[in-house]
């Protein structure tokens, strides 16, 4: 459980550090008037403003929190993998070479989404459309490649029930693939937005979320892949 514990310790340390900054030298029992902007009821654009926020867009905070949940999931899968791999019936699985190509495809999709994000910031809509299309194709190719790898292993007799190492291979790749499929849903919405001229700020946000998510899933994939290789 070490991997999971290290992750959780990091999360809890972050929360405690952040909360300490909020609570030290604060006297919650003291009432205050709000005068920094002149009038306590000041509004912007005739709408009340919300003061209590982290200063990041809500969607990004939501994604960040979701990534914590996903990291907990992958961390626990890894912990289970390491604990199970210490038992005597463990037979190391030879990972198909195809996985290297798949890794390259996922890396390429990450590069493309970064370029798309840059294009979005420059307002180059044509490049954005192209980038979204190419990125989606690369991601789908990665997923197809994973399925081919499954097929190769299965054909070679490395079925899911044959050994726990095989089972973890299928489990890791499936868990990662499902997360990627979920990301493709947001990607598809961004692509539709680019084609149907969604307003710039909202389209930019969707692309930025995809960028963060793809980066995250690429890093997770690297960790899973090298764990499987070294297993």
């Amino acid at each position: 459980m070490t991997a999971a514990l290290v992750f959780l310790a990091a999360i809890m340390a972050t929360i405690i550090w952040w909360l300490a900054r909020q609570t030290i030298n604060v006297r919650p029992w003291e009432a205050s008037t709000i005068a920094s902007t002149g009038d306590p009821g000041s509004e912007v654009g005739n709408r009340p403003r919300v003061a209590g926020s982290l200063g990041f867009p809500t969607l990004k905070v939501g994604l960040g929190l979701f990534l914590c949940v996903a990291t907990s999931l992958f961390g626990l899968l890894m912990s289970a993998y390491f604990m199970r791999s210490m038992l005597p019936d463990w037979n190391r699985l030879s990972v198909p070479d195809l996985m290297w190509l798949n890794t390259a495809l996922l890396l390429a999709s990450c590069v493309v989404v970064h370029r798309t994000d840059t294009a979005m910031k420059k307002g180059a809509r044509r490049e954005v459309k192209l980038g979204l299309l190419v990125g989606a194709i690369l991601t789908l190719l990665f997923l197809a490649g994973q399925l081919f790898a499954w097929n190769q292993l299965n054909t070679a007799g490395n079925t899911v029930e044959a050994n726990a190492a095989n089972a973890f291979f299928y489990l890791f790749t499936a868990a990662h693939g499902v997360h990627l499929l979920g990301g493709l849903w947001v990607w598809a919405r961004a692509t539709a937005g680019a084609w149907f001229n969604l307003e710039r700020v909202r389209l930019g946000m969707r692309i930025e979320l995809c960028k963060v998510y793809w980066d995250y899933l690429f890093i997770i994939w690297l960790v899973l892949f090298f764990t499987l290789l070294s297993g």
């Binding site: 514990l5 909020q22 029992w29 205050s32 009821g41 709408r47 919300v50 899968l77």
Partner: protein, 599 residues
């Protein structure tokens, strides 16, 4: 007028705008009450569903008690059925009732209202969260009716027992249970993201973190725990599902059943236990922390005093949450673990008693010399306090390895965890329901029926669980269908079992009084008015009761103070709402009036 001092620096960051058009406005009956994105409606949906399935679990516990009190008197309670009832009762109560009602019910209703938001930040995901939860509940209940029935592996679902033939529900029953849990976790994640992000991002102006009511702190921390801990249950459920359906050997060891070797290899049942309890122990605090928060507010409101040691209370919630991740293996002392690990986990387990005891002291000190109103919510709050202390003290027994080993798998354990994480939190659930029902419906619950409900539940619970500790010390095992003809169990244990069963049935029946009160008061209860308890928090300051969609009318409230300005010296009223500006207060003429604006 003094200048505004930010209580957290993020408050000075240019804020986000909540635009009216972002709110979902239902136009049809179905949109308003069925596929609804309003957190308040979702809260009611969660609460009704959780209470419905909770009543089913209550009936199952009654049936179990009938068998234990009057063995072999009821032909439909077979040994297999008994184990199935035990399992379903436990799982429903812990996950599908308590977790769902605290976070899905109270969380959804109270977070937007108490932080001064119009709704949750992702209302569509919030709506999906409920419907997925409902699907999980239906799947679980459906498992009662499939061939072989629901799983009888105990709520911990330990392999290999849960999967191998011979255990009730080892076929479809366990598969449906695992699928249901996975659905529950997916649904909860959608809701949980909403709860945390809404607290972080959608607080109204002036609502700094250190002005949040403790109810919100409890729910916030419990949700963070759940978001990080439920993946452990999800992972173990997926892996066990694969063991059961595809023949993998994550948890299943090489094993023979009835002399025949199964196809499994050297999987590790202890690995499952680690994963399960990595979720299972934080789960205790996922239930307890919202209860801690809610009871803090109930006590402050009804003692007419500010909560003692607010900052300590916040930090205690946080520290308890953090520590809850490093105590899981105290559930596994008898699994054959390294004694050094046992020592480590016993130490962390006992350390967690420090922040917990701190909270108890603060509740008692809040009550001390308070102008206490013995309302029904307050009775339940005090009932919680006493019960939690009792249950916590027996936790000290079980946290120590040498004491735990002989008491393991006895009725002592059952009595302990029922006191600390069943009766105590359910007291808070009831207290909370009595407290916020007037805001939800606009009507008061009948206080006489409420007091009957409280006293019978409280005395009845003690009649059940106090003697159960004694049974445990005698060595009476848990999960046994029958303890007849066991030489070391004296006749008095059987007599006690009869008494416990009678008490349990009475407590079960009195819950119908509560249900009757809920229904009757909805139509005929006294009109509540906007703030019947004279409370300070924002949910009691809404223009309408029940609050309309959007919660606060055209403008969001502005918060000037914390949630615990009760009996402030010099103030005319004994409570000052959070949105009351200091310079607008009618003040008594006194020499040292802290409410007067400083010069």
């Amino acid at each position: 007028m003094m200048s505004y001092v930010a209580h957290d620096e993020t408050e000075l960051i240019p804020p986000l705008e909540v635009e009216e058009e972002e709110l979902y406005h239902p136009k049809t009956f179905i949109g308003k009450y069925i596929w609804c994105q309003d957190a308040k409606v979702i809260a009611i949906q969660y609460t009704i569903t959780a209470m419905g399935v909770g009543l089913l679990a209550l009936v199952l516990s009654g049936i179990m008690r009938l068998q234990l009190g009057f063995p072999n008197s009821f032909s439909f309670i077979t040994p297999g059925a008994y184990l199935q009832f035990v399992t379903m009762h436990g799982m429903i109560m812990v996950v599908y009732l308590l977790t769902a009602i605290f976070l899905g019910g109270f969380g959804n209703y109270l977070i937007p209202l108490m932080v001064g938001a119009r709704d949750m930040v992702f209302p569509y995901a919030n709506m999906l969260s409920y419907w997925i939860y409902l699907a999980a509940v239906l799947l679980l209940v459906a498992s009662l009716f499939v061939p072989g029935g629901s799983t009888g592996a105990g709520w911990t679902l330990y392999p290999p027992q849960a999967i191998v033939e011979g255990t009730p529900g080892a076929g479809l029953g366990i598969i449906l249970m695992l699928l249901s849990l996975m659905l529950f976790i997916i649904g909860f994640t959608m809701g949980g993201l909403n709860y945390v992000v809404t607290v972080l991002q959608a607080r109204t102006r002036g609502m700094t973190l250190m002005r949040l009511p403790l109810t919100i702190w409890g729910i916030l921390m419990a949700t963070i725990l759940a978001l990080l801990a439920f993946p452990a249950l999800f992972v173990s459920a997926v892996m066990m599902l694969l063991d059961a359906t595809l023949g993998t050997s994550f948890f299943m060891p090489a094993i023979s059943v009835a002399g025949e070797m199964l196809d499994y290899q050297g999987g590790s049942p202890v690995l499952f236990q680690h994963l399960f309890w990595f979720f299972g122990h934080p789960e205790v605090y996922i239930v307890a922390l919202p209860a801690f928060g809610i009871v803090s507010d109930l006590i402050a409101v009804n003692a007419r005093k500010n909560i003692f040691g607010y900052r300590m209370m916040v930090w205690a919630i946080l520290i308890i949450g953090g520590l809850s991740f490093v105590v899981w293996a105290h559930h596994m002392y008898v699994s054959g673990m390294n004694p050094y690990f046992g020592f480590f986990f016993a130490t962390t387990t006992l350390i967690i008693a420090i922040p917990t005891a701190l909270k108890v002291y603060n509740w008692v000190l809040t009550l001390w010399r308070g102008n206490i109103r013995f309302t029904v919510p307050m009775l339940f709050a005090i009932g919680f306090l006493v019960t939690f202390v009792n249950g916590g003290l027996t936790g000290l027994f079980l946290g120590n390895v040498p004491v735990d080993v002989p008491l393991s798998d006895t009725m002592f354990v059952v009595a302990h965890f029922h006191m600390v994480m069943a009766v105590a939190p359910i007291m808070v659930v009831f207290g909370g329901l009595y407290h916020w029902y007037p805001k939800v419906t606009g009507r008061m619950l009948d206080p006489t029926l409420g007091k009957i409900h409280f006293w019978v539940t409280f005395i009845g619970s003690y009649s059940i669980y106090f003697p159960m500790h004694y049974l445990g010390i005698l060595g009476v095992p848990r999960r046994y269908y029958s303890i007849e003809n066991i030489s070391f169990i004296p006749e008095s244990a059987h007599t006690l079992n009869v008494q416990i069963t009678i008490a349990a049935l009475i407590v079960g029946v009195v819950q119908l009084v509560f249900v009757y009160n809920l229904i009757r008061s909805y139509f005929k209860g006294e009109p509540a008015g906007p703030n019947p308890w004279e409370a300070t928090t924002l949910e009691w300051q809404t223009a309408d009761t029940p609050p309309r969609h959007g919660n606060f009318g055209p403008e969001l409230p502005i918060v000037y103070r914390w949630a615990y300005d009760y009996s402030v010296p010099g103030a005319v009223l004994d409570y000052i709402p959070q949105n009351q500006p200091p310079d607008s207060l009618p003040a008594r003429e006194t020499d040292d009036n802290p409410q007067a604006p400083p010069s």
